[in-house]
Assembly symmetry: C2
């Protein structure tokens, strides 16, 4: 099955999902679309998120993708069910893979979830967790400073540690043995977060888990690529490329033999692709 | 979706998968069938394994199961593909979930796999791993003493540690950062194995990973139970119940609110169900 996996995100956060897909499914070709011109989606209305997401999906369907990964928590919360019903290819979001991993890892049924204010307010993780295992105790916490910090490239060091320590204070010592990174930016802070919460807490990257479940779903639908290849991936962004390229290069630099091309595109008539 | 998940195994090893299903999917009802009268399947011919597995599957299809879990490495190796093609319910085996988890966990692409002689000889794990990620270095090792030891209830202590240490010697210091427990009996030795291989190696239970993927596949097929219940599970065995009950009770004793009933049954005309 030669066709590519489509990955959409409001911006750069989904690049951590793309990176995990490259690492865990090295023969699969990716086509990524980040709507950087209109990100972040967090403060957008539901109507806007739905419309923007459909525009991204339409663009990737034209590229004949075999599966769609919604690598954005906000878009997952608002559009996953609808997309699963309307598309005739498999569709996966980032919320349930993280929830299922947490259920697997926790031994005391006490799970923390950190994310943007929008994701935490949506209760998407709490609902996904407790729908499967009602007796779970869930500790949600919004971490509004993490995304801006990651986008500035501050991932470790004393300043990062200070912000992480201060933000996560309400969770420290609460008894949780598992913490879900419920935002695709946060895996870039994983080492710092792990240091702050301590070795007794399993830190779950929803990006890693989404890539793992993409692998499962491709196999279930007999869609895995069966030959041998080192694919060249396509990355598209709707906004300026400078920051996008910088973050992509910093995420992809390690342990990665893949090639990728980055291009600015217009996905609506009003956007300027020049 | 009220219907039960069917779980088949040649004997008692699959009880670790059942336990993980109860833990990770506490609202789901299980119907388990262990062919204890004819186990182990390891030394059987392919023809026999196929026939016995079909007999178990037919018995569970009569119970109107919504999904089938093949909780036996030998049966997975010989029948998974065929069952996936012929049944109109989802079918999952124990090999690929463990392989996918290892690909997710390994950072240096060096993965050990331990299992029975039959499983190691079949190369099922090496093939599953390298089909997805060709550059993985796989270290397979048969551990023929582990199953008899577990079935005698020797799971920890100095004797267990000695046997595990001696058996795993060829893998120690080989550089692997991930080890797959490629036999459903082995999770009962996980603590001892972890101690022997050291904290630098992630030990993967294919039972935990199979339960996790069962959760994924039920959701993808919209087959999850949506209400609230504490189901009573049915366990059937074709042979004598004394050892079966003893092992079931020891596996299920911890952290489990479920009820279960154990019964001896005949699945062929020649077997005595009295």
């Amino acid at each position: 099955m030669n066709r590519a996996i489509g990955v959409i995100d409001s911006g750069v956060g989904g690049l951590t999902v793309a990176h995990e897909l490259m690492r865990q499914l090295p023969k699969e070709k990716l086509i990524y679309l980040g709507d950087t011109a209109r990100c972040p989606y967090g403060p957008r209305t539901e109507q806007e998120v739905k419309q923007f997401t459909w525009e991204m999906v339409s663009y990737l369907l034209e590229k004949n993708i075999k599966m769609l990964v919604i690598a954005c928590n906000t878009a997952t919360a608002f559009t996953l069910k609808d997309l699963q019903e309307r598309l005739d290819i498999p569709v996966i979001g980032v919320i349930k893979p993280g929830a299922r991993a947490a259920i697997k890892f926790t031994r005391n049924d006490q799970v923390g979830v950190i994310g943007t204010e929008g994701t935490i307010r949506s209760k998407a993780y709490s609902n996904a967790l407790r729908k499967i295992k009602a007796k779970l105790q869930v500790y949600p916490l919004a971490c509004p400073l993490f995304v801006p910090m990651v986008e500035k490239g501050i991932l470790s060091g004393s300043h990062a540690k200070e912000v992480v320590e201060e933000t996560l204070q309400p969770l420290i010592g609460n008894g949780m043995d598992t913490l879900i990174l419920g935002c695709t930016h946060y895996p870039l802070l994983k080492d710092t977060i792990q240091e702050v919460v301590g070795d007794g807490v399993t830190v779950i990257s929803s990006s890693e888990e989404t890539a793992r479940e993409t692998s499962t779903i491709l196999e279930v639908h007999d869609l895995l690529y069966n030959g041998d290849r080192n694919p060249t991936h396509q990355f598209y962004a709707t906004g300026e490329l400078k920051t996008f390229k910088k973050i992509a290069n910093s995420i992809f630099k390690e342990g990665n033999d893949s090639f990728y091309e980055i291009e600015k595109v217009s996905i609506t008539e009003n956007q300027d692709a020049s």
